[in-house]
């Protein structure tokens, strides 16, 4: 149960994960032809993560060696659902009943209902502590898989995030990657504070253009020996984009 034992799962060829294809799938969720930048704030990070950075696919959702991706920012999961559908984790037809009583796809994800979703989210500030526990568990079992957790910049307002940031940096928790999608939605936010705060607590932290796939890929592939690392993905300001 806790030790990686089964042989590698063969990957089947999936259709290419393109931005335009995922945007088409998002239209089935929202009914809109066009998407606000707020709805797509996580889109490019997710495209890069599921486009090859993460070792995870529909065949390996139960493989102990899969990389773990925890979407902590459960608000606005349309891009997440569209990427998972595009990668074949569940049928695209599920997208058409988004939010309905019988739908597995709610406005916040439930991991007991959706293949490939590692944690249920919605209430902010829960994913990062869960990811710290997950990283500890993988260290206990000697499992080299990565743990990547995605939060929004305003989610870092939560005290539980402060607890986790201080602790993970303090103990040098290797194997944990925090992705912060920064659309300047935090009240009382200060530009550039996020990576400074993380570095002050011992993290390796970098800010990149959250729409630039080459920058995102390089940052998301990076690992920091002996400490957790963070990628702050700068996207359009929520207020300016609304």
């Amino acid at each position: 149960m806790i030790s990686p034992s089964s042989p590698p799962t063969p990957r089947t060829a999936a259709p290419p994960l393109t931005r335009s294809r995922v945007l088409d799938l998002m239209s089935r969720l929202s009914g809109d032809e066009k998407h606000t930048v707020a709805a797509t704030s996580t889109l490019d990070v997710l495209l890069v993560l599921y486009g090859g950075v993460l070792d995870i696919g529909p065949e390996s959702v139960a493989d102990p060696r899969r990389d773990r991706f925890l979407l902590s920012k459960g608000h606005g999961p349309m891009a997440y659902y569209a990427v998972l559908a595009a990668r074949g984790f569940f049928p695209e037809a599920w997208l058409d009943s988004f939010g309905a009583f019988d739908s597995p796809l709610g406005h916040h994800p439930d991991h007991l209902l959706i293949p490939g979703v590692e944690v249920s989210s919605g209430s902010l500030g829960h994913g990062l502590p869960l990811a710290v526990g997950t990283a500890h568990a993988l260290a206990i079992t000697g499992n080299p898989a990565r743990v990547v957790v995605l939060v929004g910049d305003a989610e870092l307002d939560e005290g539980s995030c402060t607890e986790a940031i201080e602790y993970a940096g303090g103990v040098g928790l290797e194997g944990l990657t925090l992705v912060v999608v920064d659309n300047a939605s935090s009240s009382y936010g200060v530009r550039g504070r996020i990576e400074e705060r993380l570095r002050a607590h011992g993290w390796d932290a970098v800010r990149v253009d959250g729409r630039d796939h080459a920058q995102l890929e390089a940052a998301l592939r990076h690992r920091a020996p002996g400490r957790p690392n963070a990628v702050v993905a700068q996207v359009e300001d929520k207020a300016a984009a609304a």
């Binding site: 149960m1 806790i2 991991h111 007991l112 590692e118 944690v119 249920s120 209430s123 500030g125 829960h126 990062l128 502590p129 869960l130 990811a131 710290v132 526990g133 997950t134 990283a135 500890h136 568990a137 993988l138 260290a139 206990i140 079992t141 005290g159 539980s160 607890e163 986790a164 201080e166 602790y167 303090g170």
Partner: protein, 304 residues
Amino acid sequence: MTGADAPVRSPRAQFGRTVSALLDEREDLALVYAEISAQHVEEAAARHPRRVINVGIREQLLVGVGAGLALEGIRPLVHTFAPFLVERAFEQIKLDFAHQGVGGVLIGSGGSYDMSVLGRTHQSPGDVALAATVPGIRIHAPAGTAEADRIIREAAAGTGLEYVRISEQVSSAPRPHGSLPDGGLHVLHRGGGALSILALGHLREAALAAGDALDATVLSTTTVHPLDGRALRAHAGGEVVILEPWLEGTSLGAVADALSDAPRRFLAIGTSRQELRRYGTPAQHEAAHGLGAPEVIRRIRDWR
């Protein structure tokens, strides 16, 4: 006897001893704690540095890390003082454990008035009522070191979500060993009339004194949620008193539900719903809440 073999009288010290032994026995267990009780797990931490995790004074992280371990198949033992474990980090229990669909063993020490001299901040008489709102949780209230040891071991061996409420208030009933054999309901004393007293936590001696004085049947259990409804129906009479060392009325609804088969009268006796703004000893708090034998007997007489 010395060291690990010497008997301990404190259930909290027993917690440290039992958890340390379990960590030696099973590689899929981890202890997560938040500074509190470090003195009881020092040796285990030295032997199992990866599986004894101190998160510092960070209770939300404490519970979240426990649940993260559980998501990966590690059975977490999560410990701090009851008010900080259950009340401060309640949403983490509700979401990170219950809603994520994972189990774990939450072990709180203190609770109602163990830490009476520290004041209201270190008391949580509402912990059982609050924890019982979490779907699927089981709540245990051992009354002594032997019961604490057995219940922690049983909870660790399972897969569900368990809250073990360790208290320094102990009971020597049932005599002579002071330990109930398992989580079901037990008859400690058989009375001749309609009166039954369900004694929870350590309040068995007060209940037995009342049983003698009022010819009442006395029942007790270490598993206080969910209650053993079948045994309650088998043994309860027409007048049912619930005696519990936490918020008065906490178990009344569950008892009434279990006993809906016949018309009955119920009396709930527990800690006051008003804040007792006092320091002093646990014994003084127990008396102030009316949980000593003379007060319990008087209150039942007045009710009848």
